[in-house]
Symmetry: none
Subunit: 219 residues, 2 copies
């Protein structure tokens, strides 16, 4: 999914981009309205993430222009403002959703999924895996033989990463970064333990071990 992020706070922009890239999305970033207009001219994006407080103009005007030109690209507004009137103005300008800073990056993912699902008209983004396991990434739910399986937040964080990249082998280090925020080297076998717990819940065939490298989920 191609995403254009329009945001002038570089720290936040980096965090968002990293998170989305880690989810396998393609993210372009621009820090101003003029920049964004140029990007939009050159590429067709699937979703627009738009900050309202931009240095060189109102973000809402950018959105209104887009809509005036007939673009239907889904747009999620990011803002520090917390006023109902702003929200209404945003939605009237053609926004699809609205996130107030500070927001949780996982919530951003969920909203992105919801918005894009809305537009594709496909209500069931279920991923099917081996062993009768189905995963709804946006809804954070897992079925095994049709029955709901409960995953704890750590278990889901790990599994989520693997399901998003089916067929790819992920190193333990990569998976560790899904568990802990950033950096923090850990010299334990936490990932192994969680894989073990996941296998008990989901069956042994879903997660495959690649000895000396890491783990993999088949597509």
């Amino acid at each position: 999914m191609r995403i254009l992020l329009v945001e002038d706070e570089l720290m936040l922009a980096d965090a968002v981009r990293d998170h989305l890239l880690a989810s396998g999305e393609a993210v372009d970033h621009s820090a101003s309205v003029v920049d964004a207009e140029i990007m939009l001219r050159g590429t067709n994006y699937d979703v627009l993430l738009l900050d309202l407080n931009l240095p060189d103009g109102k973000g809402l005007d950018l959105l209104r222009d887009l809509r005036r030109k007939g673009s239907a690209t889904p747009c999620i507004i990011l803002t520090a403002q917390d006023q109902i009137s702003d929200r209404i103005e945003g939605l009237n300008a053609g926004a699809d959703d609205y996130l107030v800073k500070p927001f949780d990056l996982n919530e951003l993912s969920a909203r992105l999924a919801a918005v894009s699902r809305r537009y594709s008209g496909n209500p069931n983004p279920f991923v099917e895996l081996e062993g009768g396991v189905e995963v709804d990434l946006a809804g954070r739910s897992v079925l095994r033989d049709g029955e709901q399986i409960d995953l704890t937040s750590r278990e889901w964080a790990l599994f989520d990463q693997m399901v998003k990249r089916p067929g790819q082998t992920l190193s333990k280090r990569q998976l560790e970064e899904a568990l802990y925020e950033f950096g923090a080297e850990i010299e334990s076998n936490t990932v192994e333990v969680y894989v073990s717990r996941l296998r008990r819940k989901l069956g042994r065939d879903v997660i495959k071990t690649v000895r000396g490298v890491g783990y993999r989920v088949e597509g």
Copy 2:
């Protein structure tokens, strides 16, 4: 059938009223939100026809207020806007149907008939949940083992959100937005308290806790 038409475009309002009167319906008309509130206080209407672009306030707020007070009066939204986000917001606020201007008067009649049929005659599609709990989303009624359960407006606001997305885990943040117009950050455990009360009324198995994330009701 008593119908309240809330519409500030007088030409359109007249046309609608004439058409409905010709069909033998009783139509009252108000052109503003305050006016509508007064009318609603005095009369029990069978259907509410609600324009969203009113001069003195958002029509949606009127609808939300009604629902918050426990009213189940069917509501059809009339609007010039055709954005998916509006539609979703409208339905979330408790609307039953949605007509985009310009619309055909006969289509309006048909929808009116459909909505009122839904409410009067045969019961609506009941959603069945665990523990002998049935939910009528449109009629906002809940049965447990065949007995009516009374929910307060906040309880319903929360439960409604969850039942509409069975199988999906909703974050406390998302659920908070059902309680308040626009919750910025949660500094309290209000959602937990309401879940606790709902469980007392509906049984413990209906709402499942997903620790570290939120809550879910099974499909």
